[in-house]
């Protein structure tokens, strides 16, 4: 009998896993997908918000693609319980799906600040396609939008909100913006840049409640003046979608604890993406990254292992990039390690900042800010990723980088980073193009 794979969650990790199963397997297996939503990419939603793409563009696997891959689907259905001993998953409509192995890739959901009025009309999250539709319907040219929270996800939609002709105020509880993406110096630079571009920022702001007044929203703060606006977006954090898994016997810490093959404590149950607590490439410890590249790599490694290969995963690297008003902001790896040997450079003439963090003579993390489209900024962004990813011994080029943090290329090339990188692949073979997945016959 063909092996029965069950994929729970059709987001980034789930789609990558299914595609990789079809690429890697030697005998045709059965794949069943259970997903609360149709497969789409959340991180493309900001481009739907500013209408640079049509809604159809966000979908990563259409019904036809899933049929081509020979996937049996339960779309719009949620997994409600897992009996890991019997290898059976129960769906929210009572249906039961038996499996030989299963992948849990249910991602995360947005959480709102626990204040009165947070669930009222005109208050939105921006995480799912449905929520994106709500925000799209709400923002009109001239609307005043208040973004509660100044983290990475909030920043991914700033440009879109501004390009819709709305005015924007950002309120953040922490004393500074982007607290989990860049350091204080970088945050100050971004804050000044945004202020210069007409965005109002209020940090250290404790939101007390959200009220309705005359069809508008009024945000009340502890110890600061009210803000009236038309639309409130809460980007106040996310939580893993794992409540349904309680009592299944799968070990959960901050996420589902997985080994280097992405297996959970139950050998035929894998986890990937936002729900998985997998190895971090730099620290070597388990961590929940909740970023797209980690979900992609996790998904592919799981797919390959489900297809009978034996792929061990080295671990994932935190990489984040966001553009706000033509300023690129990126960080990698252990950028916030305050025990690291660090060097920073700030340009006086233009918005450009670098911070490089070393452990011994290896680069372990970096922060980079620069004007968008500055070709050398882009080059360095990738090269810094390469240096962190490979951990090449920099030798005397470390001192060079510390003195000249804007001169990355000679150090990258002369440390023979390319030589170290060329044989590196995630699955132990060259990657296939996205359209090259074998289809069912």
């Amino acid at each position: 009998m063909a092996t029965r794979h069950l994929i729970i969650g059709g987001g980034t990790a789930g789609i990558n896993a299914m595609r990789t199963i079809r690429e890697e397997e030697s005998t045709r297996s059965e794949i069943t997908l259970v997903s609360a939503e149709r497969p789409y990419s959340r991180m493309v939603l900001p481009y739907y918000l500013d209408r640079s793409i049509a809604e159809s563009h966000v979908f990563t696997a259409t019904a036809k693609v899933l049929a081509d891959w020979g996937v049996k689907t339960h779309l719009g259905r949620r997994a409600a319980a897992l009996d890991a001993k019997a290898s059976v998953c129960t769906l929210d409509d009572g249906a039961k799906v038996e499996y030989d192995d299963c992948l849990i890739a249910t991602g995360s959901s947005a959480v709102r600040a626990p204040v009165p009025g947070a669930d009222g009309p005109g208050v939105h999250s921006f995480w799912t396609l449905d929520e994106a539709r709500g925000v799209i319907a709400a923002i009109k040219p001239g609307s005043h939008v208040v973004m509660v929270g100044a983290g990475f996800i909030a920043f991914t939609i700033l440009n879109s909100i501004l390009s819709l002709g709305a005015t924007l105020t950002i309120v953040e509880l922490a004393p500074r913006i982007l607290p989990r993406m860049i350091d204080d110096t970088g945050a100050k630079l971004v804050e000044d840049w945004l202020t210069k571009h007409g965005v109002t920022i209020r940090t250290g702001a404790r939101l007390a409640r959200i009220e309705d007044t005359k069809g508008r929203k009024r945000l009340r703060f502890a110890g600061a003046s009210d803000i009236a606006c038309d639309v409130v977006i809460m980007a106040t954090g996310i939580k893993t979608n794992l409540d349904w898994l309680k009592g299944a016997g799968v070990t959960i810490n901050r996420g589902i604890v997985v080994d280097d093959r992405l297996r959970s404590s139950v050998p035929n149950v894998y986890a990937a993406g936002d729900v998985a607590e997998g190895r971090d490439l730099i620290s070597g410890k388990g961590d929940v990254h909740a970023i797209e590249p980690t979900a992609q790599e996790h998904g592919r490694v799981v797919g390959s292992n489900m297809a009978g290969k034996d792929v061990r995963y080295r671990g994932s690297l935190i990489i984040n990039i966001v553009e706000v008003c033509h300023l690129d902001v990126a960080s990698f790896g252990a950028w916030d390690d305050n025990r690291a040997d660090a060097a920073a450079g700030l340009r006086a003439d233009r918005p450009a900042y670098r911070k490089l963090l070393f452990s011994g003579d290896r680069l372990t993390g970096a922060i980079i800010l620069g004007r968008s489209g500055d070709i050398w900024t882009s080059n360095d962004v990738g090269m810094l990723k390469g240096l962190v990813q490979t951990g090449v011994a920099l030798g005397r080029f470390k001192e060079h980088l510390k003195k000249h943090p804007f001169d990355v290329k000679p150090a990258f090339i002369a440390s023979r980073t390319t030589h170290t990188l060329l044989p590196e692949t995630i699955l132990g073979r060259p990657s296939k193009a996205p359209g090259d997945t074998p289809v069912a016959v």
Partner: protein
């Protein structure tokens, strides 16, 4: 697969490859839009061009959330403009630093081997860039290591 082989010791730094690249890729002579880049070494006494290795992993391609990077007939990773949303994930995923972003078009761009007839190799007067059936290697590492080391010893950095 045919790849771009770089012979750094032959490069004179004339930048013709950058011009040819930008012209073929964008229709204008704008080295800023070239995806092959000549870098100086040894305090501008030697030069070498650097571009995408068309690496086996294709970090740019596997990172793209919308499948906008594919493999063309020449075997090169190639951006499909109509599909790219301009999210830049590929620019940060490519560990070689050879994905670019154009703020005018809001698209990513990269070396696509000109579909099998690379303009840089054709334009290079000293054959410092050749298009050959060979395995891709780290063409510049040793060259740069030697030269950069001399500069560091020469005083710009504190060599140790």
């Amino acid at each position: 697969m045919r790849v771009l082989k770089i012979h750094p010791e032959k490069c004179t730094g004339c930048l013709r490859c950058e011009l040819a690249c930008s012209y073929t890729q964008t229709g204008t002579f704008q080295p800023a839009k070239s995806v092959i880049r000549v870098s100086p070494f040894e305090g501008h006494t030697s030069y070498a061009p650097y571009t995408c290795t068309q690496c086996a992993e294709g970090w740019c391609m596997t990172a793209c959330p919308v499948g906008a990077i594919t493999i063309n007939a020449a075997g090169a990773k190639d951006v499909l403009d109509d599909t790219c949303v301009g999210c830049k994930l590929c620019t940060i995923a490519c560990p070689y630093g050879t994905m670019f972003y154009d703020p005018d078009t809001r698209k990513a761009f990269k070396c696509n081997l000109c579909g099998g007839a690379p303009a840089c190799a054709e334009a290079c007067p000293t054959a410092a860039i050749t298009y050959e059936e060979t395995a891709t290697l780290d063409w510049l590492g040793d060259f740069a290591h030697e030269r950069t080391a001399r500069v560091l010893v020469g005083g710009r950095g504190s060599a140790s």
